[in-house]
């Protein structure tokens, strides 16, 4: 049997049944690795279901800090007989299948090229716990204990996490410890521990945190000054507003009166959610909503109103697999065009592309400044992978001297000194006009906000020349926006190669790993990460300066490539797509294969691809 010994470099997958309490045990496993100083990248692969269907949890452990998804399962913990067939097939040759052998494994599941590690999880729990619920729950903890022995994890680290977790329910600590030890001892007594894949403590996590993007986004909204949130539940964005509420309760309640310095309304649908955001920002509060692709479709009419009437909006789009209901629990970057050009008529909207939780935090706060400054909807393009999975991330950071940019809003004093106020008058020549908030001045500054065409003084008009003047000014504002949005990140000094790689959002993890893998093989490519739309001139320059650009994105139709071609007038042949759209995060191996197939070099031998693809049906 082949053997691929590895220290601190592996993918562990858990195959569970949805709704059996496995999630917290799996999180415990990932967190313990993280606390051993090892970069980890856990991913939930879950069904659209509450209870009963198969669900997977995958943890990549990599001491070099590569956090993208990787194919090839080194060790699979299979506790769901429903999915045994697929699970066993997914283990790489020489890998391990850890399972509950309370019942004998049927011969059809035996593969000659992998190791089988049977732990009688159910039997152990039946013997040691009386309560049927406990028998079920502690099964999960038993396998974590077994893994500690098999992979050489530090038991004290695991126990510390358990103790912290049950700080307020102390009587649950001893039975959890017991379950950990039962699993640990069984593995020690029956197998040669540790295995040839194992972990060792390192100091490679620095001051990083392990957090999901949606929580970071919500915290960004709090620091960014959002006081109104209106939303409609939809996977994978629901936890954004949920986290917003959780932290508002801690951070935004008046200690004396107990009253709230925020308002959250669960709307009747996404249309209403967007209407509420528009009403609130029109009235001078910072407000936001979070949704996914289907919600953006429903909000489109209102997004057009906010664009044309020039009302700030912050919209978080946590993308999932489309079209239609699509793959609601899988990830994609497939709302690029529908968000960039949301709504009828000539419309376009600034987009932000975070790639880590720290950026979710930063960009979510920045989105409020941009929306207020530009008086237009700003859409933050997260995705399911970033939003719902924990990621190792730099800590959330806030500059204490930072002040909100509320944009051009006139005060009563400003209005007092004005001859005549024109809501849509381009006073400064940057395409951004001055606005007033209702209730500012008894007799000055009022105007009628409308989605119909109007002149510079907000008076209804159907005159073609006036209409053209207004929509042309919106283009001027759009050009102004190019210098306000976050700049792209370049990964090298100057240009060093004829080919360049361009990517954004969650493709970043695997893109950077692929670049390193290529470099190890003597191929060095320039790289640029786009952080925002409209595109800054440096993005155009990067494309101009290279013969060929690989555009990495996670959708079928190369939407980002289309956006580049359309907005920057790039000849299409210059942009070569690297696409992934099966609903799972893109892998470095996939990127490397695709790119190398276009390069005039000998076939690359990869050591990174260690198993079958992630087919999980």
């Amino acid at each position: 049997m082949s053997s691929i010994p590895a220290v601190n470099d592996m993918v562990i997958r858990f195959a569970n049944v949805n709704g059996t309490g496995s999630a917290s045990a799996n999180d415990l496993f990932a967190k313990a690795m993280f606390r051993m100083g090892l970069p980890v990248s856990p991913k939930n692969i879950f069904p659209s279901n509450i209870q009963g269907l198969p669900t997977w949890y995958e943890v990549r452990i990599n001491e070099r800090g590569y956090l993208g998804r990787r194919d090839g399962i080194d060790l699979l913990v299979g506790v769901n007989p429903q999915s045994y067939r697929k699970d066993i097939d997914s283990v790489r040759p020489g890998g391990y299948f850890v399972y509950d052998n309370t019942k004998r494994l049927h011969d059809e599941f035996i593969r000659e090229d992998i190791h089988y590690i049977g732990i009688p999880m159910m039997r152990i729990c039946m013997e040691h716990y009386q309560n049927p619920r406990h028998q079920q729950l502690f099964k999960n903890i038993v396998y974590v204990g077994a893994l500690a022995a098999l992979l050489d994890m530090e038991m004290e680290v695991i126990k510390d996490i358990v103790s912290q977790q049950f700080q307020k329910k102390e009587k649950l600590i001893p039975p959890n410890f017991q379950a950990l030890e039962l699993g640990y001892n069984y593995a020690q007594q029956h197998f040669d521990c540790p295995l040839d894949i194992r972990v060792e403590r390192r100091d490679n996590t620095g001051d990083s945190i392990l957090i999901d993007g949606n929580t970071a986004t919500a915290l960004g909204a709090i620091f960014g000054g959002a006081t109104v949130a209106a939303w409609y539940p939809i996977t994978p964005s629901t936890s954004v507003v949920k986290a917003f509420e959780t932290y508002c309760k801690k951070l935004r309640v008046d200690p004396e009166t107990g009253k709230k310095k925020y308002a959250i309304v669960q709307a009747e649908d996404e249309l209403a959610a967007m209407g509420m955001v528009i009403g609130a920002t029109w009235n001078g509060a910072r407000a936001f909503t979070a949704t996914s692709g289907p919600g953006v479709s429903l909000m489109s009419e209102f997004i057009g109103l906010a664009y044309f009437a020039e009302i700030p909006v912050v919209l978080v789009n946590v993308q999932r697999g489309g079209p239609s209901t699509g793959m609601p629990t899988r990830t994609q970057q497939s709302d690029i065009l529908s968000s960039a050009y949301a709504s009828h008529g000539d419309t376009k909207h600034p987009l932000l592309f975070p790639s880590t939780p720290a950026e979710c935090f930063e960009m979510s706060a920045t989105a409020f400044d941009l929306a207020d400054r530009l008086q237009t909807p700003v859409i933050m393009m997260s995705d399911l992978d970033l939003g719902m999975n924990n990621h190792m991330s730099p800590p959330l950071a806030w500059d204490e001297s930072r002040r909100y940019d509320l944009g051009k809003v006139l005060t009563a004093e400003d209005l007092e000194g004005m001859e005549k106020f024109g809501r849509y008058l381009d006073v400064d020549g940057d395409g951004i006009c001055y606005r007033t908030v209702p209730g500012t001045h008894p007799t000055k500054g009022s105007f009628f906000t409308r989605g119909t065409s109007r002149d510079e003084y907000a008076r209804y008009t159907e005159e073609g020349a006036v209409y053209e003047r207004i929509v042309d000014r919106l283009v001027k504002k759009w050009n102004t926006a190019k210098d306000y949005v976050p700049l792209p990140e370049l990964y090298q000094e100057g240009n060093q190669s004829a080919q360049g790689v361009l990517f954004f959002g969650t493709s970043t993890y695997s893109a950077l790993e692929a670049l390193d893998l290529l470099k190890e093989r003597g191929i060095s490519l320039d790289a640029l990460r786009v952080k925002a739309f409209p595109f800054h001139s440096s993005i155009y320059q990067f494309i101009q300066d290279h013969e060929q650009i690989f555009v990495i994105e996670q959708n079928r139709d190369a939407q980002f490539r289309s956006l580049l071609i359309n907005e920057l007038e790039i000849p299409p042949h210059k942009l070569t797509s690297v696409l992934n759209y099966d609903g799972m995060p893109i892998t470095a191996d996939k990127i490397m294969q695709e790119i190398s197939s276009h390069l005039p070099v000998a076939e690359l031998v990869t050591t990174n691809n260690q198993g079958n693809s992630h087919d999980l049906r």
């Binding site: 606390r35 001051d207 945190i209 392990l210 709090i222 620091f223 000054g225 006081t227 109104v228 209106a230 951070l251 935004r252 008046d254 107990g258 009253k259 310095k261 925020y262 308002a263 959250i264 309304v265 709307a267 009747e268 649908d269 249309l271 209403a272 959610a273 209407g275 509420m276 955001v277 528009i278 009403g279 609130a280 920002t281 029109w282 009235n283 001078g284 509060a285 407000a287 009419e301 209102f302 109103l305 959330l396 950071a397 204490e400 909100y404 908030v437 209702p438 209730g439 001045h441 008894p442 007799t443 009022s446 009628f448 906000t449 409308r450 989605g451 119909t452 002149d455 008076r459 008009t461």
Partner: protein
């Protein structure tokens, strides 16, 4: 084309207690059809705001799409207005109100805007008891698109084109009572005496106040056979009561015969005086109101007046328990958590 009225005011013009003339509550010249009921409602709104001495900037008018939703241009020219999208005025009003609880929110909608495309938002803003006045200018037809039946057209009502409406109407006051509205009234655009005090009472009500105002469409639905024509409505009117609205600072000077009148004290101390026409109806009893509405429907009456008022109304901000100061006045010093708070958040994720 834009219509602008002169802003000159005669120095001897009568002014209200805060120094505004009635003309200060007017807006641009109406572009609706001559004789449109909606213009009469605009007039009643102007009258009510003038009499209530409302500071124009302390009121925001919000509408959807349609003839009715155009009217906010024609009144309260010194107030901010927002003509939003079709059927979605309630959500915009909700957001606006969440941002600043101190303004009066006057929502203007029509029967298409409320009973068809906006029925969902109407139901939900109502059940949240958002503090707003919601005026439906109800003419039973779509005016801007030339006279199609709306969802409030009565069965058998004949349109100008001669077709007979086969569908049951959505009765907005009945629906509002069912969904838990805390202030429900119906009136007629041609009855300013009734409409002005109703608007005033609605503006004083802390919660959602529905004013379903029948407002004939002179161009498309004022023909024989229509049940929303001036003639038909006048012939079938039946009021629950005549009504006075007494702001808190005024002394109550009128006496009524015992058993004939009833008073409802509103949250701000103002008083609604009703001179009841029916002895078997209690305006603070939802069930009694629902029965009276059903009875009128059965009898073919167009029942108007204040139908129901909940004196213990708790509006959305009460439910959400927000701070007293408007959320749109909070700034960095209040909104940004301390660096210690951020440190402990980061620590919790290690």
């Amino acid at each position: 084309m834009t219509y602008v009225k002169p802003t000159f005011r005669h120095p001897k013009l009568a002014r209200n207690t805060i120094g505004f003339a009635k003309a200060d509550y007017e807006g641009a010249i109406s572009t609706l059809c001559a004789g449109c009921g909606h213009d009469s409602i605009s007039g009643a709104i102007i009258q009510a705001c003038y009499e209530m001495a409302i500071e124009p900037h302390k009121l925001a008018k919000i509408s959807g799409i349609g003839c009715s939703s155009k009217t906010p241009t024609y009144f309260l020219g010194n107030s901010h207005g927002f003509n939003s999208v079709h059927g979605r005025m309630p959500s915009v009003a909700t957001g606006a109100n969440l941002a600043n609880k101190d303004l009066i929110y006057l929502g203007v909608s029509g029967d298409g805007d409320t009973a068809s495309i906006g029925l969902g938002q109407f139901g939900h803003v109502l059940r949240r008891n958002l503090n707003m006045v919601y005026v439906v200018m109800n003419n039973g037809c779509y005016g801007l698109t030339k006279g199609q039946d709306s969802a409030t057209a009565d069965v058998g009502s004949i349109s100008k084109a001669g077709s007979n409406n086969p569908f049951e109407p959505i009765d907005l006051v009945g629906l509002a009572l069912e969904l838990g509205a805390t202030f429900v009234a119906r009136s007629f655009s041609g009855d300013k005496t009734q409409l002005v005090p109703l608007i005033k009472a609605a503006m004083s009500h802390p919660g959602f106040a529905l004013l379903d105002v029948l407002s004939p469409c002179v161009t498309f639905n004022n023909n024989a056979g229509s049940t929303k024509s001036y003639t038909y409505i006048r012939e079938h009117l039946s009021a629950t009561a005549t009504m006075d609205f007494v702001p808190e600072e005024q002394e109550i000077t009128v006496d009524y015969a015992e058993g004939k009148s009833t008073s409802v004290v509103m949250h701000d101390g103002s008083l609604v005086q009703l001179h009841k026409l029916s002895p078997h109806w209690d305006p603070t009893n939802r069930r009694s109101a629902m029965e009276r509405v059903q009875q009128a429907k059965q009898d073919g009456e167009v029942l108007t007046g204040l139908l129901y008022l909940d004196p213990d109304s708790q509006e959305l901000h009460d439910t959400l328990d927000t701070v007293d100061e408007p959320l749109n006045t909070l700034r960095e010093d209040i909104l940004i958590p301390s660096s210690e708070a951020l440190d402990s958040i980061n620590e919790a994720f290690r």
